[in-house]
Subunit: 430 residues, 3 copies
């Protein structure tokens, strides 16, 4: 039974993970050192609370945000952890190769923040293919995406000299369009009519709110962590107000687009975060608090509209099935963030005391980020499309029991009243 | 069908929220600026971890603490988020109008902490009316309560010159009595005999513990965030030991008041926090660690007693139905905190090196806080009593499905075995 | 009905808890003071974010990690809170008696971190006896274990002069072997064949992941909090990479040891943390990032193997039933950490700029820690074995309803479909 074999990860996952870990340890042994300890003072550790906020976002925020599916919580939070644990090690190496002038890659708190950042791109893309990929596929995608991300980041920041402190473009738009391109290549016609597991349950929506809130709360840290020290407070303030304004418009639009005026958890879980994405590129600019709120308000608005109208369109017409709607949370708001940075440059809004960004370079950064993401994502999709990487058959998508030991009495989701003829375990052909 | 119309929020919620956001953006455009960047140093960002702890308390702590109701988790954590997002913007304006001498309101980390603080009052009051109010009503209450809170805070701190670092009086007692007065005006005789949804389920109690623990853990940050820098450590220490002592007495009393000696989750979720409330006014005073523990112990004791004996009395005799028991968590311990500060003043306990608080001013602060809260809350209740603000009919109280899209298989709460004749959806008349 | 009486905690729990709190307040009144305020500067508060991370680990991390049992969530997170609240007060006194030279115990952030640390030992041991002990027993164990822990810590750090910054030995190995020895003495032959409640449910495993992730994320703070300031960054970096590497090998091994290649939540919840335990003793040493990753990789490996093969062996052959598998998460990795510190000493790996640890003293520290833990744990087990401390009868183990008011419709765990003849409440003889 080939499909049964296909999802058995016993040797594929273990051998690939151990191979990667051994490879990384060898590379670390050769290249990676502590930052010279003479320069380590309490001052350096000043960034440590920012790092920890970002760290919580990556593992708790992204992890729990994706637990909204009723039968896919183990995978969401578990594979998220696996991706991030691999990604931060690989990201340390990839960013180190570009960022360092010395013979060695030197680790300090800032490089740890950047390593965590690099994993965010993969976690965003993971949202687009959630429920339809195996852990082995995700390990491969992690390696591919972080490698390409690091090149694009180097290009945007160091070659073009664009500003993107909160990474609206280099992380959010990149991760979203990379994931969408991969999802396009991995499109499953068999899921065209939807899938019975692709829905939330009451408690899974509650778990997802844990993710939402920790992302929401610590986004000011995300957008300010690598800002220049004298601009960090401004980045914090702009993000704080952008998120608050975004939340109001997201609630308003969620109620407005539903004919009975009810709020939709999908919007509250996701669109309330769009303000953090969109204000990213301008976070440390002198856009005034009301400017940040304007960006946030628009972000909340377009994000809800995206969920309501664009996601179904993408799925039915473009054959892009975006499980978590990352296009609405990271893609569109990321584009908005890039556009805002171009507008800010045109308006000569200052970055520091004197510096102003260049509109042309901001536009180039946005363009090359989208382009590289799409091409890179399509390439990754082709690689993941290789057989024997453990994809679940269509009928077992969005189901933890394919890759996890699941407590038996809960194969049946809580509160669902079973058809007596449906008492089989879900993973019959595994 | 008028009741059906009443809870349809489609245009009311969206238009009110967008109107408020536009108004706020305009006011921010006119009045709000960044703090002068020349004075922004790393030193200023020293408060940022304190801010983030408070931020987590507001959104995760308060939000999840209220998820104990079995069918009201979306509203608890979602409307909490909406209130707080509006409140922090409005609080920035209201506090700025009182606090600033300049032409503009200048934002820094400290003003963000104060803005988050101002939302806490509304979230406390929200607990008193939880399950019985609409999102539209809560937006209106947010605007009203924060406006009145800011006036009272100005009166207490600047006019009377009282000390209330951890805000036992100005936030906790104020929020509780404001909410109780509003609940009295909004009293629903139809719920006199209780409501089938007004109870917890196993998992909803677990979610509530997430809220409890993050409140418990970060309370030292709450009580020290706006203390003078040289007194912050003392405020942290006092709160830490007060909470620990309170937890022991809360567990002890919970077991004692129940005839079979079993612990009650309501007490553990709430009364363990009373020590943080009660030590607030004295947090930065030289009361010694054992003094803080004494205050905390008494707070845990009176809080459990309040839940066991006072809440039923309030509900049956005073027509005040206090859903979350905020009187026991914030009201009584807030009073205790105010009284403790009066005793401390009488005992000439020092605040800083030389300063001592004035007993008369502490008493005046407590009195005017309670008075303004009661009058303000009653006024807010009258405003919220206006028709067409979307209140749910009695039978649909404590039920997310009135205002939220709820996953269908979970309209039936997890683990509840249904009467076959009860398969209707809950929100029939919506 | 004696067994009914046995679990009624009404007077036992309340009187013991209040007695302990009164005793502690008296001792605090006599001995405990604030650190001299003249030396309190912002610099001192530099450790506050580290403290808060550790604080979250103790209450949220340990508390939720143990909620994996389907019917024991209230006890896991609630009794964890009770133990920690008592433990941090008692730990302050016990450590203060050893650590101070002055007449008084002076409290600052560092002493609060150490107090939280001391509670960790009890919480680890709690994991070994989880579901089989009463709250009264746990209060007694808290007092006993922290007293013995403080003596051993004094011996290891001050007398032997060993280095154990992240406390692989003094906290993790100590807590594990103390708990295992107590579990041996408290062995219940009636549970030899397993217990129907000793298993997870889907949502309880999700709650447990909250604990796992907060432990995982803040472990770098745990291992660096009491390091010398100039070595804190190194301790952070080593722990960060050790945890990441451990996570990969834990996933790999989990998949490998299961014949269908599925991941097991028990491993993901626990073995991913072993890297933090194992790197503890060497955390601030110059072991290079790849050295930390090597230690972490081995820790993840042995931890999964321990869960798969050693725990069943312990239970069936050694009559040690270790509910949470603390031997695999804290015992074995703690031993590994101690051994690594011996190896590092032999290899002359530097601690600071010049200092090197002594292999003999590291070995002596490891040996005396295990020895004292085993003897102390066995003694504690004998004390807890006294009758009338409220143990549940075998059939009611792992069941919240013995000690807690549990919502009625959820006595039946979510999603479990009941045998119609099984509609009795679980706690019939209580």
């Amino acid at each position: 039974m080939p499909s049964a074999f296909a999802t058995n990860m016993r040797f594929k996952l273990s051998i690939l993970a151990i191979f990667l870990e051994v490879l990384i340890i060898v590379l670390f042994g050769i290249f990676v050192r502590y930052e010279n300890s003479q320069s380590v003072t309490k001052d350096k550790l000043f960034l440590y609370p920012f790092f920890q906020d970002v760290h919580v976002m990556i593992f708790v925020g992204f992890g729990f945000l994706m637990t909204f599916l009723k039968k896919y919580g183990f995978s969401s939070v578990g594979i998220n952890m696996l991706i991030a644990a691999l990604g931060l090690q690989w990201g340390t190496l990839m960013q180190g190769f570009w960022h360092t002038e010395a013979q060695t890659i030197n680790i300090d708190i800032k490089s740890m923040i950047n390593a965590d950042f690099s994993t965010a791109t993969v976690l965003i893309s993971f949202g687009a293919v959630l429920g339809k990929t195996s852990p082995v596929q995700m390990l491969i995608m992690t390696i591919l995406e972080i490698t390409i991300f690091s090149c694009n980041e180097h290009l945007v920041v160091n070659v073009l000299g664009a500003t993107d402190t909160g990474a609206s473009m280099t992380i959010h738009a990149f991760g979203a369009y990379f994931g969408l391109a991969a999802a396009r290549v991995l499109y499953r016609p068999g899921l065209k009519e939807g899938h019975k597991n692709e829905e939330s349950a009451y408690h899974s929506d509650m778990f997802a709110m844990i993710g939402t809130l920790f992302l929401w709360l610590f986004w000011p840290s995300f957008n300010s962590a690598i800002a220049q020290p004298d601009l960090q407070q401004r980045a914090i303030i702009n993000t704080y107000f952008s998120m608050a304004a975004c939340t109001l418009t997201a609630f308003a639009l969620s109620s407005l687009v539903e004919h009975r005026g009810k709020l939709d958890m999908v919007h509250i879980q996701n669109a309330t975060l769009a303000g953090g994405v969109a204000v990213g590129s301008c976070a440390d600019m002198n856009i005034y608090p009301f400017g940040a709120m304007l960006i946030g308000s628009i972000a909340g608005l377009i994000s809800v509209i995206g969920f309501k109208f664009l996601t179904p369109f993408f799925s039915s017409k473009l054959k892009i099935h975006d499980t978590c709607g990352v296009h609405n949370l990271h893609g569109l708001p990321g584009l908005l963030g890039g556009l805002a940075s171009i507008v800010a440059a045109v308006a000569h809004i200052k970055l520091g005391e004197t510096e102003t960004p260049s509109a042309a370079m901001q536009a180039a950064a946005l363009g090359c980020t989208i382009g590289i993401a799409l091409v890179g994502g399509a390439f990754a999709g082709l690689v993941l499309h290789l057989p024997f990487l453990g994809q679940a058959p269509d009928e077992n998508c969005y189901d933890d029991s394919v890759y996890w030991e699941v407590p038996t009495e809960e194969t049946q989701p809580a509160g669902q009243f079973s058809d007596p003829g449906d008492h089989r375990t879900v993973n019959i052909n595994v």
